[in-house]
Each structure stands twice: as structure tokens, then as C-alpha cells.
């Protein structure tokens, strides 16, 4: 019997997948779903995976509710469930049009659509980490894991059953036997570790539109690499004339007005790699985004030297994305192409606008490194 639904279930999943594939380019360009990211999955609005009916518009309807409150009082968010009679045992009613897709599945779809090769792991060694998983409730355990509600309930049950509960004076005293504790297991997670070092030019010439492009693109890069490596870390570096490491939030929302010295970022990148990510244990992916405007030819030379001598030998792939901006000269990518363009672990991409994000992802990930 349980086999039967799996047929219908996998057909449903197949349909969802097909719809996502068909709309993937749109999702990639617009970054439509980025705002709705959950921890492990993403909600994608899919028109008409639901079966359309003639029905009333959601907000037209309104209805009858129950509870306290004055006329004019707002109802809390989420408290309104537009009522369409949903009969228990009828299997019919409202469906949300949003389908949850795990990031892993999304990465797979992305991989299939863009025909991305699987990444060859440079480091084959496994690093084992441990993860705590709460599995149930036990009668013994450390006090810090005591389950208060269950304990209370147990005590209440016992007192009622033994007749010591007095409704007039509802005092519940748990005894040793009433106590309940959360129990957990340690799980071993074999991991291959990787780190992405995002660098971005935040000087005056990089506008909001440019940053939006970086934000969308980095989401997809993240998703793909996370699919390949279970233990993925991210580090964020912003720079104008000087570089500093920041958190993710700051990374995407900082705007400076100074000039641009790309070497400062590469220097910091080098330090980060040397300090935290020994080649023996880590797969390292620096991604750098700028509008291609550097302070001086001299600084560019420094960048190239650093890349060639210190960075490239330590990383799986170095990627540079140049986002077109009305202010930038766009020179930097030409310099890189000339000097390190033929290195096998360098990926260069020019991103003229949002439409270009889709092919650009392929520029970055197409080498399978």
C-alpha cells in the first residue's frame, strides 16, 4: 500500500522540478526567491502547480472570526486563514502556491540546466565533525536538558491519579520520578571542507545595482558549492583603498566613497588563507567582484604578482567577476586576462547586467574545479 503513494509523490516532485527548470533563468536573473531563504530550503512561487479553479479572490473574501477585540482592531499576521471548506477526509482545499525546494535539489537542477561538471576535489581527506541530534525524551539526563513541560505534565498526572491534586489549591510538585529530559545522540558527519572568500569593491563607483548583481550571483555560487561540499565556510572582505573583513550583512550593504586599491583585498585574502585554511585540509575559493577600476597600473601589477605567487598555488580556483558600471574603466579584467588568463584555475567573467548572471555562473563553475 505504501508503494502506491510514492508513485504519485515522485510524479509530483518531477513536475515541480520541471517547472523550476523551465523558469530557472528567470529565477536566476531576478533573484526572486532570495528573500525567502530558509535554512536548508527555499520557497519558490510556482504558478499553477496548484490546480486552478474559479474561486474568490483572497482579499475579497473576508469572513467570520471568533475572539476578543474592538471593531477596527487588527488581526495578527498569520491569524487569517481564508476559509474554503476543507473537509477532514476529503483531501481537497487550499494549497499554497509556494513549493519548498531544498537548496541541494536546487543546486542539482542548476547543475543539470547549466551542465555544470561536478567539482573535482583537490583534497580527498575526510574531516569528521560531530553533530548533536535530539532524538527523544528520557527519564534520566543532565538538569540542563530538563524538559519542563513534560515534567510538569507528568507531575500533574501523578497527582491527579493518586488523588493528591487539589483544584482549590493547584500546587504541582514534581518528584524525582516525574522529571523528563531531552535525550540526544552524537552523529558523525564526514565532511570535506571548503571555504569561499568573497571580496568586493565597495568604492564609490560600485552602485546599488552592481551590488545587487553580486548578491544574486554569490547566492548561486554558494548554493552550488554547498551542494558539493558539506562543510562550507564563507568569509567576506570589502575594500576600497583599504580592505577589511566583515560579516555577510555588512558585505552586501556597505558603500564607501574612497578610491580603489585592489591589492589591499588580495593581501587580506592571502593572510586569511595562510592563517586559517591550510592547503592540506581545505578547498579554497576566492571570488572577487569589482567594476574593473583600479587606482594605478602599479597596484594592478602588485595584484598580479600576489595572485601568481601566493594565491593561485593555494586555491582550487580563483574567480574574478567584473560588473559593468557607468563609472568604471573596466581595465582590470583585461590585465588579468593578459597575465593569468591561461592559468587553469582562474575563471574570469564579465557581467554586464542581470541577464548576464546566468551565463556568468557557468563561467565560474564550468571548469569543475
Amino acid at each position: 500500500m505504501s508503494l502506491k503513494i510514492h508513485q504519485d509523490h515522485s510524479r509530483f516532485k518531477q513536475i515541480v522540478r520541471g517547472k523550476i527548470k523551465a523558469n530557472l533563468r528567470k529565477y536566476v536573473q531576478k533573484g526572486e526567491m532570495l528573500g525567502k531563504k530558509g535554512k536548508d530550503f527555499i520557497s519558490i512561487p510556482l504558478p499553477f502547480i496548484d490546480i486552478p479553479h474559479f474561486k474568490y479572490g483572497h482579499k475579497e473574501q473576508g469572513g467570520v472570526g471568533q475572539g476578543d477585540g474592538e471593531v477596527g482592531q487588527q488581526l495578527g499576521p498569520g491569524s487569517v486563514q481564508p476559509g474554503e471548506g476543507k473537509q477532514a477526509g476529503q483531501g481537497e482545499g487550499e494549497h499554497s502556491l509556494e513549493v519548498d525546494v531544498t537548496l541541494d535539489e536546487l543546486a542539482q537542477i542548476l547543475g543539470e540546466e547549466l551542465q555544470l561538471p561536478r567539482i573535482e576535489r583537490r583534497q580527498s581527506e575526510k574531516i569528521v565533525t560531530q553533530k548533536i541530534k535530539y532524538t527523544g525524551v528520557n527519564t534520566t539526563g543532565p538538569e540542563s536538558l530538563r524538559h519542563f513541560k513534560r515534567t510538569y505534565k507528568q507531575a500533574l498526572k501523578r497527582q491527579i491519579a493518586s488523588g493528591t491534586y487539589d483544584p482549590g489549591k493547584p500546587l504541582i510538585v514534581p518528584t524525582r520520578e516525574d522529571r523528563r529530559y531531552r535525550s540526544y545522540k552524537l552523529q558523525d558527519l564526514p565532511d570535506t571542507n571548503a571555504v569561499i572568500i568573497y571580496m568586493m569593491d565597495v568604492s564609490g563607483s560600485m552602485g546599488d545595482e552592481q551590488k545587487e548583481i553580486v548578491r544574486i550571483e554569490s547566492f548561486w555560487l554558494d548554493t552550488w558549492l554547498r551542494h558539493q561540499y558539506k562543510g562550507l565556510e564563507s568569509r567576506y572582505v570589502i575594500h576600497d583603498a583599504v580592505a577589511r573583513e566583515v560579516d555577510r550583512e555588512t558585505f552586501f550593504h556597505t558603500r564607501e566613497s574612497g578610491g580603489t586599491m585592489i591589492s589591499s583585498a588580495y593581501k587580506l585574502c592571502r593572510e586569511i588563507i595562510q592563517a586559517d585554511y591550510p592547503k592540506s585540509a581545505w578547498n579554497v575559493y576566492p571570488f572577487h567582484f569589482s567594476d574593473g577600476d583600479n587606482w594605478s597600473a602599479d597596484d594592478t601589477r602588485q595584484c598580479i604578482d600576489m595572485l601568481r605567487d601566493d594565491i593561485l598555488p593555494h586555491v582550487n580556483q580563483f574567480a574574478y567577476g567584473q560588473v559593468e558600471s557607468p563609472y568604471g574603466s573596466g581595465q582590470f579584467i583585461k590585465d588579468l586576462r593578459e597575465s593569468v588568463g591561461d592559468h587553469e584555475n582562474v575563471a574570469l567573467s564579465e557581467i554586464s547586467d542581470k541577464d548576464a548572471i546566468y551565463p556568468s555562473i557557468k563561467d565560474f563553475l564550468g571548469k569543475g574545479r
Binding site: H9, G62, Q66, P77, Q81, G89
Partner: protein
């Protein structure tokens, strides 16, 4: 796999069944089976029928139920199928007190299924029929191909609410020929009256007669509207008049059958859930409950009865309304004398000790559906006690808010939501629109606009069955609009209503 009851559960079943009978409940034989939560989710996804035709939407349903369970948002305790015998499923992992509660609840449902008038025409062998439907669909899949069949089912499901929800029962064996035959009689063309036979060829030359004949024919064609009256059973109309192939007719009629089977359940949801809740609470609290089970019982009972400000819990509304009726009929708070009494103190202490409450309840559960139930028994006192209100969306504040607590508005909003099972009423008005075999539907607008993108998408599906352009007349923002889909493009034009 479904398991039959353990000896312990079987004993409990006998016990609860005994209480239910002692209270006067009258039900079909009820078969309980025990399922794991995964199996229960599956059966629920199939609408209660484990042997249903294959379709991806059961998979979608299953996914949502499983997720809801995994995230702890929802849990199905029980499932009953209206059939003779009734089938009911218990969740294996439920505690004993829950199983008792569920059984008592199930007997309430089964009594309701057997006795409420809405189910008088319900097919009580639906389990077998559903399995037959599945076999028929599978056979077509083998013959026609899975894609074509699935595609057709997708499009038809989009129309499944277009049945006559309030028809007493499904209309079968339609005879589309009869109306046409009637129209055919009386159509000889005579021409002018001729006095002398030899003049006939001059007065009525054959070209003239042909022309006359053609004119009459045209007029008839134009005058002949079909359907003669607006037809609410759109699916039946399609079955009779759409240019469908055999397999399409078969599948369409299967889906229509199933839609009619579920319709009365939709019309009695508040009554049915209320009745089952009334009985589980009565049986549990007066008979079945052991002292040590009280907390868990109270916990789960209150979980089922919980309300949120922006939605109405049919379990809660139903049980409270039954209890209110019981009290009113026990105390004699009805009839002319009661209605005309405006002494507040007298009303409050009114008790004629009639004790007719229980008897009245059984009568109510037999002769009413949700609409007549609310219409007859919802009183201002009850609405106030239950804190009912009307809510709506405030565009300016972009949020839902309480609009009104006035009794008449609450009641009419409640009834409006129940009319046609909360679905818009849509009828076929013309199957030969503008004499071009186009299909024209009309939405009986009752103050609520249709959801636009859904309406257009549904029209597209309708067109694929009708094969000629289809139009729907409705109203948006108070203005008449005709939505049209011609097979290629959607269009809209203003119409006067």
C-alpha cells in the same frame, strides 16, 4: 499495511460502541484499522480512499501532510469514510485515551452519515466504486498513454467545482436528444396561400420557397438557446455537448461522480464535525474516561476546539451550537412566548424544565445542513457569547481587521460563506453563443470578485474541452467584464449587466 485492531483496542471499541448505542446513536457497522502516521498521511492524501486513481495531486497532498506532521504543525488523528460499512483509521502511535476519543468521535460521524438527509442519495459503496474508477483510469492510461490521460485529468480537475452543489442528487442518464427532437417538429414551409393550383409555380416559385425555408431555419437556429435555462451543472453540460472522445467522457464522468460524492460532506461540515465533537465529549466525560486520562483528554479536546481570531473552527462552532440548542430546548427557551419576552431578567432565569434538548438534537442532525442550521439556530445571544465578528482586509493598513460585531452582519457573512460551499456560482448560459458554437458562462456575482489569474487559467482548461472559444461574464470592481479565451489568446471586454 493496515492492521486490524489489537485485542486491547478491540475491547475498547466494543466498550465505546456500547456507550454510543446506549446514547441512541444509530450508525452503519464501523470497521477500524490501525495505520502508521505515514500510512495515515497517505490515505488522507487520497481523500480517505486508499485505492484511488493515480494522479500527482495526491502526491502533492501527501507531501504537505507529511511536512505538516514533521514540522509539528498538524497531525491527523483519525479518518472516516462515508460508506456502508464505514471505514475508520486510527493512528498507531496514539495513546489509549486518544484512541478512545477518536472512536467516540468516529461513531458521531458515522451516525451523522447514516441519518443526515444530505446523504440520502450518497453512494454507500463508494470504496468499491473508487477502486473501479482507478481501474478504468489505469486501463485508459495503458491504452492512450499516461501523459494524455494525466493532462486531461489536470484540466478536468480544474473544473470539478462546477457542479450543482445544492442539487439533491447527481443527475444521471441524461437524454440530450429529446430537446432536439421537440425542436424539429413543425417546420414545413408553405409559402403563400394558393387559390388556383396552376398558379402555384408563379406565386411560390421554388427559389422563393427555398429562401423562406432558409429564413425560418436561421431564425430557429437563432432562437434556439441551449441550455434553455442556465445550467449549474457545467460538467454535465460538457458531458452532453462537448466534442469529447470516449475515454474523455469516461474520465470526466468519473471525476463528476467523485465530486458529487464529496459535495454533501462540504455542505455539512460544521454540523458533522460539531456532532462528532459533541458525542466524543459526551461519551468521554460521562462514561469512558479514567481519572488518570483526564489531563491528556482535556489537552487534546481543547486542541481541537481552539480558535484563532481570524478563522472559524467548525468543530468549535458546531459543538457550541448543538450545546446551545440542547440548553434552549431543555429550558424551553424557544417559541412565541420566549421570542416576545423582553424582560431581560426573566429571560436569564427562563427554565421551563422541558428536558427536550437531546431529542431536539437528534431531530436537528437529521433535517438540517450547515446553511439551514446556522440560519435557524444562530441567535444574537449565541453570537455574543461566542464573540463572533466579521473581519475583512483593510487595504490602507495592509492588514486584516475586525469590521463588525453586529449580529445580522455576522450571520449573513457566515451564510454567504456557506452558500454553494463557499464557491462562486457559475452557470452555462449559452452553448451556442453568437451562433458560433462558443460557450458562454456567467458568474452570479454576490459581492465578491473572482481571483483573476485563476479565472483565466480555468477558462483555458475549459476551452480545451469545449474546443471552441469560451467566455465568462463576471464583474470586477463593480463593472461587468467578459473574459474570453479563444484557444490562443485571452481577451477582456466591458459588458453591461
Amino acid at each position: 499495511m493496515p492492521k486490524s485492531l489489537t485485542p486491547r483496542l478491540s475491547a475498547l471499541k466494543d466498550e465505546i460502541e456500547g456507550y454510543a448505542r446506549a446514547f441512541g446513536l444509530d450508525f452503519f457497522e464501523t470497521v477500524f484499522e490501525v495505520l502508521t502516521y505515514d500510512e495515515l498521511n497517505m490515505v488522507a492524501a487520497y481523500g480517505g480512499f486508499p485505492n484511488r486513481y493515480p494522479h500527482w495531486r495526491w502526491g502533492m497532498e501527501y507531501e504537505q501532510l507529511s511536512k505538516g506532521y514533521e514540522y509539528g504543525l498538524s497531525k491527523i488523528y483519525e479518518l472516516v469514510i462515508n460508506n456502508d460499512p464505514c471505514y475508520a483509521y486510527l493512528l498507531e502511535s496514539n495513546a489509549e485515551v486518544d484512541q478512545k476519543l477518536v472512536m467516540a468521535h468516529v461513531y458521531g460521524h458515522c451516525d451523522f452519515f447514516k441519518n443526515n438527509f444530505s446523504f440520502r442519495h450518497t453512494n454507500r459503496r463508494m470504496i468499491d466504486d473508487m477502486a473501479n474508477h482507478a481501474t478504468r483510469v489505469r486501463r485508459w492510461v495503458d491504452k492512450i498513454g499516461v501523459e494524455k490521460v494525466e493532462d486531461f485529468i489536470d484540466r478536468t480537475l480544474s473544473l470539478e467545482n462546477l457542479i450543482d452543489q445544492h442539487a439533491p442528487h447527481i443527475r444521471r442518464n441524461p437524454d440530450p436528444k429529446r430537446a432536439e427532437d421537440e425542436a424539429k417538429s413543425n417546420e414545413r414551409v408553405e409559402g403563400f396561400k394558393v387559390g388556383r393550383e396552376y398558379m402555384r409555380g408563379f406565386i411560390n416559385p421554388s427559389e422563393f420557397l427555398d429562401e423562406q425555408r432558409k429564413r425560418v431555419e436561421d431564425e430557429k437556429q437563432r432562437a434556439k438557446r441551449f441550455p434553455e435555462r442556465p445550467q449549474r451543472d457545467v460538467l454535465l453540460f460538457l458531458l452532453e455537448h462537448a466534442p469529447l472522445e470516449d475515454w474523455e467522457v469516461d474520465i470526466l464522468s468519473i471525476l463528476r461522480d467523485e465530486a458529487y460524492y464529496f459535495a454533501p460532506q462540504g455542505q455539512t461540515k460544521i454540523m458533522n464535525e460539531g456532532w462528532a465533537s459533541y458525542w466524543h465529549s459526551t461519551i468521554m466525560t460521562t462514561r469512558a474516561l479514567k481519572d488518570h486520562e483526564i489531563i491528556d483528554y482535556a489537552d487534546h479536546h481543547s486542541g481541537t476546539m481552539g480558535t484563532r481570531p481570524g478563522s472559524l473552527n467548525p468543530y468549535k462552532l458546531g459543538i457550541e451550537l448543538y450545546r446551545d440548542i440542547e440548553e434552549r430546548w431543555n429550558k424551553g427557551r424557544f417559541g412565541k412566548e420566549w421570542d416576545e419576552c423582553d424582560d431581560l431578567r426573566a429571560r436569564r432565569s427562563w427554565d421551563k424544565k422541558l428536558g427536550a434538548g437531546r431529542e431536539k438534537l437528534f431531530e436537528v442532525r437529521k433535517h438540517y445542513n450547515d446553511i439551514t442550521f446556522i440560519d435557524t439556530f444562530l441567535t444574537p445571544e449565541f453570537a455574543m457569547e461566542q464573540k463572533l465578528f466579521v473581519y475583512g482586509f483593510n487595504d490602507k493598513r495592509n492588514s486584516w481587521e475586525i469590521l463588525d460585531r453586529e449580529f445580522r452582519k455576522v450571520k449573513s457573512k457566515l451564510l454567504a460563506g456557506l452558500t454553494n460551499f463557499g464557491q462562486p456560482i457559475i452557470e452555462v448560459v449559452d452553448g451556442n453563443h453568437e451562433n458560433r458554437s462558443e460557450l458562454l458562462l456567467a458568474h452570479k456575482h454576490d459581492g465578491q470578485d473572482l481571483k483573476g489569474d485563476y479565472a483565466r487559467e480555468t477558462l483555458r482548461n475549459l476551452q480545451s474541452l469545449w474546443r471552441r472559444p469560451v467566455s465568462l461574464v463576471t464583474r470586477y470592481d463593480g463593472k461587468g467584464v467578459m473574459l474570453r479565451f479563444d484557444g490562443q489568446n485571452h481577451s477582456e471586454k466591458k459588458v453591461d449587466l
